[in-house]
């Protein structure tokens, strides 16, 4: 089984969010980048398939050279090789089309991604990719098994879960549940050493044109200070008369 895991390179959740160049660019100054937390769940599931079912695992990122440490981290966790598509990922559709070119040429059975990225939270890429390459697609996946070409999966729905059956080839957009938090792996020294020698292939754009562009960023208006009360009557009164939410 050949697995491709899509990795987004995102600011750590605790990062300060600021913008430069007249609010048109994200300010990366002092920001620590990590593997997108949602992708990490899917990567960890891929490791399970590698160890238990002999799958090979390739990781891919659409991004500029600055994302390579994030791909190396995925290699240190245990992926076999990595691909970086040398494009600035400004639009979800653009990323999906670049990934589709990789998937079409790669002969993958399973494409695993996170259901969203922690930067744009768009939830766009996995579904677009599946449609572009005509793979089956399960979104918001919290469990999956592969038996031959048959796939059983569980997805989260409003207020519960749905079990589905489908088949390879497939795109899975995973989240917590596809593995648990305790299953996530921290690269060890041996993994980090080995990752340096694993192939990281850089490919150029397949010539995709973006369909959206960010004109500017803005931050929400600063929030007023919390109003503290010392009794529940005042709280109910404020929620009813001021906030008008009860």
């Amino acid at each position: 089984m050949k697995i491709l895991v899509c990795i987004s390179h995102v600011p750590d959740t605790t990062s300060k969010i600021n913008f430069t160049d007249n609010d048109t660019k994200f300010d990366t100054n002092g920001v620590q980048f990590v593997i997108n937390p949602y992708d990490e769940f899917s990567l960890t599931r891929a490791m399970w398939f590698k160890e238990k079912q002999g799958a090979t695992v390739t990781v891919v990122n659409v991004g500029e050279a600055s994302t390579e440490p994030t791909l190396r981290k995925a290699l240190a966790i245990g992926a076999d090789d990595a691909i970086r598509v040398n494009v600035n990922p400004t639009d979800g559709f653009l990323v999906a089309k670049e990934l589709a070119a990789i998937v079409k040429n790669g002969g993958y059975d399973v494409v695993l991604a996170g259901k969203e990225s922690a930067d744009y939270n768009g939830q766009m890429v996995p579904g677009m990719l599946a449609s572009l390459v005509d793979f089956n697609f399960v979104n918001g996946c919290v469990g999956m098994e592969v038996d031959g070409t048959a796939v059983s999966a569980t997805r989260e729905i409003d207020g519960g879960e749905e079990k589905v059956s489908t088949s390879l080839p497939i795109v899975i957009a995973g989240q917590k549940g596809i593995v648990e938090e305790k299953d996530l792996r921290i690269p060890n020294m041996r993994g980090i050493m080995m990752a340096r020698k694993k192939p990281l292939n850089v490919v150029e754009s397949s010539g995709v044109i973006a369909s959206t562009e960010t004109q500017s960023f803005e931050k929400p208006a600063p929030k007023g200070a919390v109003k503290l009360v010392d009794n529940v009557d005042d709280l109910i009164n404020l929620l009813h008369n001021e906030a008008k939410v009860i």
Binding site: G127, D158, K163, I246
Partner: protein, 317 residues
């Protein structure tokens, strides 16, 4: 030319978000000088949509007993084609988020998700979107001729705008689906976090699962959903399905009440789309106080029972 909205439903009843997308689509259609068409698939009564501005409702009735993303995406695309719709508006329910990217590919449309407001301009078509876990917004230009717009939950809101509408049957081909539903496991009779106007959430400050009775009672008095912080679900005090925060469920309710939750940044990232936030915590230094609108520095075991009693009296008044 027209604007098409997909009015999603569950078991024959429109979701709250259906009225939100119709309200939004109506305004966009007005700005573009065109008409609005709402599409329903085994949905509710079309007149419910007329109340929010849908002049024309296309009703698909078929034997799809549950949602299927590929089938729904194909039907939405066929309707967009038949109505020459250049703008398609879809909600951010679990199903909407599943289907919208597939619709965008089928239409070869630029797709902007997480949109929180009407377009600031229609030429170029520019929309404001949430980004960086609600810590910022991006003003995005959708430059393609066809566009799919995903509306963030509880952002634009439903606005009554009664029109005299007409409904007509729309017959669409259903493609081979690829993914088959085997079973659905859904709590019945409880308000889900996704649908709730009010969410009551509690954390480790409650000391143990045996103390959740008052959280459930407070939720029941308010007609709210219950939720919990990540440590609480990791400890097994509450089911994973209640975990809200960055890796758990997102919350975009009108009111979010946090009891004994300190407010780790990952928790706040998942809930800060809620409009009004209340915190009850013994520790005045808890980071949640910086994110909250209203707060009580005090013991949940003292204040929550009082809040339940007073709210019961308030609801009866």
């Amino acid at each position: 030319m027209s604007v098409l909205v997909f009015a999603d439903s569950s078991e024959g009843k429109f979701k709250k978000t259906a009225f939100e997308v119709v309200s939004y689509g109506k305004k966009v259609a007005e700005e573009l000088g065109t008409n609005l068409v709402a599409l329903t698939i085994n949905g509710g009564d079309a007149s419910e949509l007329y109340a929010f501005g849908a002049e024309k409702v296309l009703e698909v009735k078929n034997d799809l007993s549950t949602f299927n993303a590929k089938a729904y995406a194909s039907i939405i695309n066929q309707a967009a084609d038949a109505q020459s719709a250049n703008v398609v508006v879809i909600d951010s329910s679990v199903d909407g988020l599943y289907v919208a990217p597939m619709v965008a590919v089928a239409m070869d449309a630029g797709y902007a998700s997480n949109v929180v407001a009407l377009p600031s301009s229609t030429a170029p078509f520019t929309v404001k979107r949430k980004a960086f876990s609600n810590k910022a917004f991006s003003n995005t230009i959708v430059s393609t001729e066809k566009k799919v717009i995903g509306i963030a939950k509880n952002s634009y809101g439903a606005h009554e705008n009664a029109v005299s509408g007409t409904a007509e049957a729309f017959s669409a081909n259903v493609p081979e689906m690829g993914v088959k539903s085997e079973s659905v496991d859904k709590a019945t009779g409880v308000i889900t976090i996704a649908d709730a106007d009010i969410v009551v959430s509690a954390g480790r400050g409650l000391k143990g699962p045996e103390n959740w009775g008052m959280v459930e009672e407070l939720a029941s008095v308010l007609g709210a959903a219950t939720a919990c912080s990540k440590p609480v679900s990791d400890l097994g005090w509450r089911p994973h399905s209640e975990h809200v925060g960055q890796t758990g469920k997102p919350v975009a309710s009108n009111l979010y009440i946090a009891i004994g939750i300190s407010g780790a940044i990952q928790h706040l990232a998942g809930i800060n789309a809620s409009k009004v936030k209340v915190v009850i915590n013994t520790d005045p230094e808890a980071p949640f106080f910086k994110a909250a609108d209203y707060g009580i520095v005090g013991d949940a075991f003292e204040f929550v029972p009082q809040l339940i009693e007073k709210l019961k009296a308030f609801k009866q008044a």
